[in-house]
C-alpha cells in the first residue's frame, strides 16, 4: 500500500516536472520567424470620442510603421505599450509616430492625453504578426491543462 502510494507520488512529480518543462518550452523556446519582406506601412488613425479608428492595426514584424494620428474632436494622444513611444494630435494638427515593429505580439495603444470620462478606456490594439506570444500562451495553456489533469488523474 505504502509502496503503491510512493510510486503514484513519484509518477505525479514526474508528470508535474514534464508539464512545467513543456510549459516553459512553449513560452520561451526560440522559434524561427519567417514572413513577408519588411515594408514601410503608413497608417492613419483617427481619434475621437474615446475611440481610435481603426481600433485594431495589423503589421508584420520588421515593418517600418508610420502612424499618422488625427484628432476629430479634442486633443488626444497615442501611447504604444511595449514600444513605449507616444505622440499627440489635436484637430487640424496631426501627430506622427515612426518606428520599426521589431517585437511581435499584440500591443495596446491608449490615449495619452486626458480627454474626458472614458479616457482611461480609450484603447486600440497593434498586432505585430506573426503573433507568437499569443500562440505560445495558448500552447502553454493547453499543456498546463492536460498536464494538471495527468498529475491528478487517479
Amino acid at each position: 500500500m505504502i509502496g503503491t502510494q510512493f510510486a503514484r507520488r513519484k509518477t505525479q512529480w514526474l508528470f508535474a516536472g514534464v508539464t512545467m518543462a513543456l510549459v516553459a518550452l512553449a513560452l520561451l523556446a526560440p522559434l524561427p520567424v519567417t514572413g513577408a519582406a519588411p515594408q514601410e506601412r503608413h497608417i492613419t488613425i483617427s481619434a475621437h470620442t474615446f475611440a481610435f479608428e481603426p481600433g485594431t492595426v495589423r503589421v508584420n514584424r520588421g515593418d517600418t510603421v508610420v502612424i499618422n494620428l488625427e484628432s476629430a474632436d479634442v486633443m488626444h494622444g497615442l501611447y504604444l505599450d511595449g514600444y513605449e513611444i507616444s505622440t499627440r494630435a489635436e484637430p487640424g494638427q496631426p501627430g506622427e509616430l515612426r518606428f520599426v515593429a521589431d517585437r511581435d505580439g499584440a500591443f495596446h495603444f491608449r490615449c495619452a492625453v486626458p480627454c474626458g470620462n472614458l479616457h482611461p478606456f480609450m484603447i486600440g490594439k497593434l498586432i505585430v504578426e506573426p503573433n507568437l506570444p499569443w500562440l505560445r500562451a495558448v500552447a502553454a495553456t493547453l499543456i498546463a491543462a492536460v498536464g494538471a489533469g495527468a498529475v491528478f488523474w487517479k
Binding site: V23, L27, T49, F50, A51, F52, E53, G55, T56, Y79, D81, G82, Y83, E84, G105, A106, H108, R110, A112, P114, G116, N117, L118, H119, P120, F121, M122, I123, G124, K125, I127, N131, P133, W134, A137, V138, A140, T141, L142, A144, A145, G147, A148, G149, V151, F152, W153, K154
Partner: protein
C-alpha cells in the same frame, strides 16, 4: 498544513488590540469622505478626480491584487461603509460595551419580554443571492460608475446609507454579510487566501456553553458576521476582524497561515449561491474585458449611455451572458461529466432540486471557478490599473481638480507603469489559476465518487475560458 501565528505573543497582542482595526478604519473612512466630497463637488474629469482614481484604480488594484488573494476578507474588517452603523449599534468606538451588547432601533421597537430584542434577518435572505443580484445591478451601470465621479459618489452614498439603515434594524453587519455587492465575491475568492481565523480545538468549544464568540462579552462583540467560529469551514463569511480572538475566554481561536486555497479542498456540501457568484463573476470579467479593454469605442459609449436603446441591448447581453450562457455552458459540462462517469445523478436533471440540494455536483464543480475566476480578475485588473495608476499622484495633491498642489505632485505626468510587461504577468497568473482549477475539478470528481475522466469537461471549460481571455488580450 498551517501555522498559528497568533501564538507568537507580540503578534497575538497586535491582533487582539482594538486599535489596529479602528485606526485603519478611521483612515479608510477619511478617504471615503474625500471620495464622496470630490465626487460631488470636484471636476467631472475622472482621471483628475480623487474619487475615481482612488476608488477604481488604487482601491480596486489593492483589493484584487493584494487584499483578496493574500488577506482574504480582511478589507471587510476595515471597510468604511459599515463603520458608522457599527459605532451606532455599539454606542462606542473602541472600548466594547459591557457584555458586548448591541443596540438597534429594533431592540426598542420590536422587543419581546425575555428576548434579546434584535430583529432576525429574514430566513430566505440568509445567503448571498442578494449580493449576487446587487453585483449585477452595479455591473449594469459600471461603465458610468467607473468613469463618473458624481455617480461613483452617489453609489457609495447609497451603499453607506443602506448599510446604516440596515444596522438600525438588524444587529451586527447584516448588510456586509447578506447585501453588500462587493462582499459576495470578496468572500468567495477569499477562500484562496493563505490566512484564516479558526478554532484550535473544536472539543474545547463543545464544552464552552456560553459561546461568547457569538454573543459577545466584556472583552468584545459577538461575531459581526453571525459566525459561530467552531463551525467555520471557509473564509467566505469571515472578515478576520479578530472579535472571536478577543472574546474567547479559553484562548481557543487562532490566526493561521496556511496553504493557499485550503478552503476549497472539500468540494462536498458547497452552496449554489456561491457557485452562481463564481459563474456570474466569470461572465462579468469577460464582458468587461470586451467592452472596457477592447478596441471598440462604440461598445464603451453604449455601455455608458444609460437609458438609451443601445444600453438596454448591452444590459440584455450582460445579463444573459452572466446568468444564462456561462452557467448554461458550465451546467452542460457537469452534465457531460456524469455521462462520462456513467452514473447520472438526479440533481443534474432537475435543476430546481439542485438548487435546493446542499451537496449538488454542480456546486461542487463550481469550486474550480474560485482560482480560475480570481486569476481572470487579476489579469483584468492588471490590464487597466497599472497603466493608469500614475494618476494617483496628481489626484493626491489636487483631489478636486481645482488647481491645488497640496503635496507638490500635482504636475506629475502620466506614466504607464509596467505597460510593456503586463501580458507577461497575466499569462503566469492565468496558468496558475488554470492548474489549480483543473486540480480541483479532479478532486471534485473523486470526492463525488466519479472517475477522473468525469472531470474532463469542466477542465476543458476552464482551459477554454483562459484561451478566450488570452485571445481577447493578446490577439
Amino acid at each position: 498544513m498551517h501555522y498559528a501565528i497568533s501564538e507568537i505573543p507580540v503578534i497575538k497582542r497586535f491582533l487582539k488590540s482594538r486599535w489596529l482595526q479602528w485606526g485603519i478604519t478611521v483612515v479608510t473612512l477619511a478617504v471615503f469622505l474625500v471620495v464622496i466630497l470630490t465626487g460631488l463637488f470636484g471636476t467631472p474629469a475622472g482621471n483628475h478626480n480623487f474619487g475615481i482614481v482612488y476608488v477604481w484604480l488604487v482601491w480596486w488594484a489593492l483589493l484584487k491584487l493584494i487584499f483578496v488573494p493574500f488577506l482574504g476578507r480582511f478589507w471587510c474588517s476595515v471597510c468604511p461603509i459599515p463603520a458608522p452603523g457599527d459605532w451606532l449599534q455599539r454606542r462606542a468606538m473602541i472600548t466594547p460595551r459591557r457584555g458586548g451588547k448591541l443596540y438597534t432601533l429594533a431592540t426598542k421597537l420590536f422587543r419581546k419580554p425575555g428576548s434579546f430584542g434584535a430583529r432576525p434577518w429574514p430566513k430566505f435572505l440568509r445567503n448571498i443571492w442578494a449580493q449576487n443580484l446587487g453585483f449585477l445591478a452595479v455591473a449594469l451601470f459600471s461603465a458610468l460608475i467607473l468613469t463618473s465621479p458624481l455617480v461613483t459618489a452617489l453609489t457609495l452614498l447609497v451603499f453607506i446609507l443602506v448599510s446604516l439603515l440596515v444596522s438600525l434594524f438588524y444587529e451586527r453587519r447584516a448588510f456586509c454579510r447578506y447585501l453588500c455587492p462587493i462582499g459576495g465575491f470578496v468572500g468567495v475568492y477569499s477562500q484562496i487566501a493563505p490566512v484564516a481565523v479558526r478554532v484550535k480545538d473544536p472539543a474545547v468549544c463543545e464544552s464552552h456553553t456560553e459561546k461568547t464568540c457569538y454573543t459577545g462579552s466584556d472583552a468584545g462583540y459577538g461575531c459581526p458576521y453571525f459566525n459561530l467560529p467552531q463551525r467555520l469551514q471557509a473564509n467566505t463569511l469571515c472578515s478576520m476582524c479578530g472579535e472571536c480572538l478577543r472574546t474567547c475566554p479559553k484562548d481557543n481561536v487562532a490566526f493561521y497561515v496556511r496553504v493557499p486555497g485550503a478552503d476549497l479542498l472539500n468540494t462536498r456540501g458547497r452552496r449554489m449561491d456561491e457557485a452562481f457568484n463564481g459563474l456570474m463573476m466569470l461572465g462579468a470579467a469577460f464582458i468587461y474585458s470586451v467592452v472596457l479593454i477592447g478596441p471598440d469605442g462604440g461598445l464603451k459609449a453604449t455601455a455608458r449611455a444609460v437609458g438609451t436603446p443601445g444600453w438596454f441591448v448591452y444590459v440584455a447581453a450582460l445579463l444573459s451572458f452572466s446568468l444564462l450562457v456561462v452557467p448554461g455552458l458550465f451546467w452542460l459540462c457537469v452534465r457531460l461529466s456524469q455521462v462520462l462517469a456513467g452514473r447520472p445523478r438526479p440533481d443534474m436533471v432537475d435543476i430546481a432540486a439542485a438548487v435546493r440540494k446542499r451537496d449538488s455536483l454542480f456546486a461542487g464543480y463550481a469550486t474550480v471557478l474560485v482560482p480560475l475566476g480570481l486569476a481572470i480578475w487579476v489579469a483584468f485588473t492588471l490590464s487597466f490599473t497599472m497603466t493608469n495608476l500614475s494618476y494617483a499622484w496628481p489626484a493626491l495633491s489636487d483631489p478636486f481638480g481645482w488647481g491645488w498642489n497640496l503635496f507638490g505632485t500635482a504636475g506629475m505626468a502620466w506614466t504607464p507603469y509596467l505597460s510593456g510587461v503586463i501580458p507577461y504577468l497575466q499569462v503566469p497568473v492565468l496558468l496558475v489559476g488554470l492548474i489549480v482549477a483543473v486540480a480541483l475539478a479532479m478532486r471534485t470528481a473523486h470526492q463525488h465518487q466519479q472517475p477522473s475522466r468525469a472531470a474532463l469537461p469542466v477542465s476543458a471549460f476552464c482551459a477554454l475560458a483562459v484561451v478566450g481571455l488570452l485571445t481577447l488580450y493578446m490577439a
